[in-house]
């Protein structure tokens, strides 16, 4: 699984605002965001490189060592019901969960930006139809939508990614639509039109770069949402199927041993919490960092 290759540190996604130094400085002043960025960097590196450094693979079954508690022997974080090394499984699961998180974010951003920019730019009938469709999609509680569709399809990593992406692009579409609609009335957009620029040029060269700050924030929060969504579906058994580990299905298989081997649930639960809150902190930090009005704080 070459999951790690698509996993980039999220800080790189923070495109330079007007004054790069200013944005970076504001981000660094946001302690929780820096903490979050550090955690995500650490998790990403650990999941990418960790499995190569461990003495056990995630599928190695050590039948003599079933339910070994953490810090009790050769297995640092203990073993599960089949005697598989928890740390190895946790890291391999992290690859899947982070891959799902980032890929679903990327796809949902593409859909959301496309829908938002088209409806914001053209407005009128096209815009109304698209945005009412967005509203209709938002009417479904996304967890039910996720479960309903996942019950119908064959669960694989890529289908889960797609599934999460198509249930989470609507917020982005709304953000982009509002931004583009406001920017479109600005003089520089009128100027581009007066120069004879094509629609595509106005949309992507003139308008979109000016909406990048809220998009980056939404993207960060979308990663958190996607990781959480994958956990839900996998926890309920519709998502990533064993033996491929994900944080969600590790939680699922830990249910039966909640009292006898609580670390089976606590460890993946901790990983999910850590990843999701870190992404949320980064999102908060970026929101402040990319808004120059926050400079006075």
């Amino acid at each position: 699984m070459s999951a790690s290759s698509s996993v980039a540190p999220p800080a790189a996604a923070a495109r330079p605002a007007r004054r790069r130094g200013g944005a970076l400085r504001r981000f660094l002043r946001h302690r929780l965001a820096v903490f979050g960025a550090g955690v995500i960097l650490f998790l990403t590196l650990a999941c990418a490189l960790g499995p190569y450094l461990l003495p056990f693979t995630d599928t190695h079954i050590d039948i003599m060592q079933r339910f070994a508690p953490p810090f009790s022997g050769a297995h640092v974080l203990g073993t599960d019901a089949l005697g598989r090394d928890m740390l190895a499984r946790l890291l391999m699961a992290g690859r899947i969960s982070l891959l799902v998180g980032f890929s679903a974010m990327a796809i949902s951003m593409v859909i959301g930006i496309a829908v938002g920019i088209v409806s914001g730019y053209y407005g009128g009938v096209v815009g109304t139809v698209l945005m009412r469709f967005v509203d209709a999609m938002l009417c479904f509680p996304s967890i039910f939508l996720l479960l309903a569709i996942s019950a119908l399809i064959n669960a694989s990593v890529s289908s889960i990614i797609l599934l999460i992406a198509i249930t989470s692009w609507m917020e982005v579409a709304r953000i982009v639509e509002a931004q583009i609609r406001a920017l479109r009335a600005r003089d520089f957009a009128v100027a581009a039109e007066a120069l004879g620029a094509s629609d595509r040029r106005v949309m992507f060269r003139e308008l979109l770069p000016n909406a990048i700050a809220p998009i980056v924030v939404a993207a960060t929060l979308n990663v958190a949402h996607a990781i959480l969504a994958e956990s839900y579906i996998s926890f309920l058994g519709y998502g990533i199927q064993p033996p491929t580990p994900s944080w969600g299905n590790m939680l699922d298989s830990a249910q039966s041993y909640l009292t006898s081997a609580p670390w089976l649930a606590i460890l993946p639960g901790l990983a999910i919490t850590l990843a999701v809150t870190s992404f949320n902190f980064i999102g908060d930090g970026l929101r402040d960092a990319l808004d120059p009005r926050m400079d006075g704080r």
Binding site: R18, D187, F188, V190, A191, E193, L195, G196
Partner: protein, 340 residues
């Protein structure tokens, strides 16, 4: 408008231009009312001429500018550019004309994309109209144009927020000029600038006009600025032209009461001159519900009952001097000391 013997056809002809917003929609709860932002405006501009369009905010002068450029479509009327009727051209058909007619904006802060460098902003027209041109050649064109407006080649790599208002307006002018247009529409190009900078920018435009043979439609609310730059002046009130005259004639012998009032508001840099200040009372009437007849009559100190009758037509009262007022018996005050 008025015949110009032994003259080439005008570069821009505008006939009975109307731009109405809103319009009939038998809505669910109420009827939409019509705003006649521009209501039957006709003028033309000869090659090499500077025509100024003057009026208060809300008089529709900017709408005229944007409609002429087809940034909004006129409700009715006719726009000819160098003999070609561009009134109903599609966006694609309009594109070749866009190189030849350009716009300078009022607000030099809002009209430049904050996320683009000066090179990209000024070079954008080249990129659009000559997509095959190599980057280096485009850069050279940008630097030449920057030099033309008094900026340095090193400014090309910077972002708009690094410049002052006057410099930004120069960038806007450079963008408008890089394709060597024939017609420049300047929509209040100096009213957002400090007074000390205004003269610089106006002089720059005059100089460029001479050097490049530009024709300019200069939109402004400030007669003082306009007197310096224009050959002719058209005064607009509530969507209609009320007086059109050569600059000198308008300043020395205004024929319309509204022009008289505007002139009396122009500051004269000589404290010894005493003059009567004509204060217009009240605001401009709402274009949603304009007065009957002459729309200026509600604020006009010479108004007669007859003014409420019909909309006065714009008619020639002296060679090249037209007004829309039924009172020919007026001797209106021309402020002394105004350099026309």
């Amino acid at each position: 408008m008025h015949p110009q013997p032994n003259e080439a056809p005008p570069l821009l002809e505008v006939q009975e231009l109307r731009k109405w917003y809103g319009g009939p929609r038998e809505g669910l709860f109420r009827r939409r009312s019509v705003v006649k932002a521009v209501d039957g405006v006709s003028f033309d501009i000869r090659r090499g001429e500077v025509l100024s369009l003057v009026g208060e905010s809300g008089s529709g002068k900017s709408t005229v500018g944007r409609t002429v450029l087809r940034l909004t479509s006129p409700t009715s009327g006719r726009i000819r550019f160098a003999g070609d009727d561009i009134t109903t051209l599609s966006r694609d058909a309009m594109r070749p004309f866009r190189q030849k007619m350009q716009l300078v904006f009022q607000d030099p802060y809002a009209s430049l994309n904050p996320k683009m460098t000066v090179e990209d902003i000024v070079g954008a027209p080249v990129e659009i109209h000559e997509p095959g041109l190599p980057r280096a050649a485009r850069r050279q064109r940008v630097e030449e144009t920057l030099a033309l407006v008094g900026l340095l080649p090193s400014h090309a790599a910077r972002y708009p927020h690094e410049f002052s208002g006057g410099q930004r307006q120069r960038i806007g002018i450079a963008r408008a000029l890089i394709m060597q247009p024939q017609l420049l529409i300047a929509d209040e190009p100096v009213s957002a600038l400090d007074v000390s900078i205004q003269a610089q920018v106006v002089n720059l435009m005059l100089e460029l006009k001479e050097r490049l043979g530009l024709t300019i439609l200069f939109i402004s609310h400030d007669l003082a600025v306009v007197g310096h730059i224009s050959d002719r002046i058209a005064v607009m009130y509530l969507g209609r032209l009320v007086e059109v005259a050569p600059t000198r004639a308008l300043f020395t012998m205004p024929r319309h009461p509204y022009t008289e009032a505007l002139l009396s508001a122009v500051p004269i840099p000589d404290p010894t001159i005493q003059r009567e200040r004509i204060m217009l009372t009240g605001d401009m009437p709402s274009p949603l519900d304009p007065p009957s007849g002459c729309s200026f009559r509600t604020r006009c100190r010479y108004a007669l009952p007859a003014c409420a009758g019909a909309v006065p037509a714009l008619r020639e009262v002296a060679p090249g001097h037209m007004k829309a007022c039924i009172r020919d018996d007026l001797h209106l005050a021309a402020p002394t000391g105004l350099a026309a």
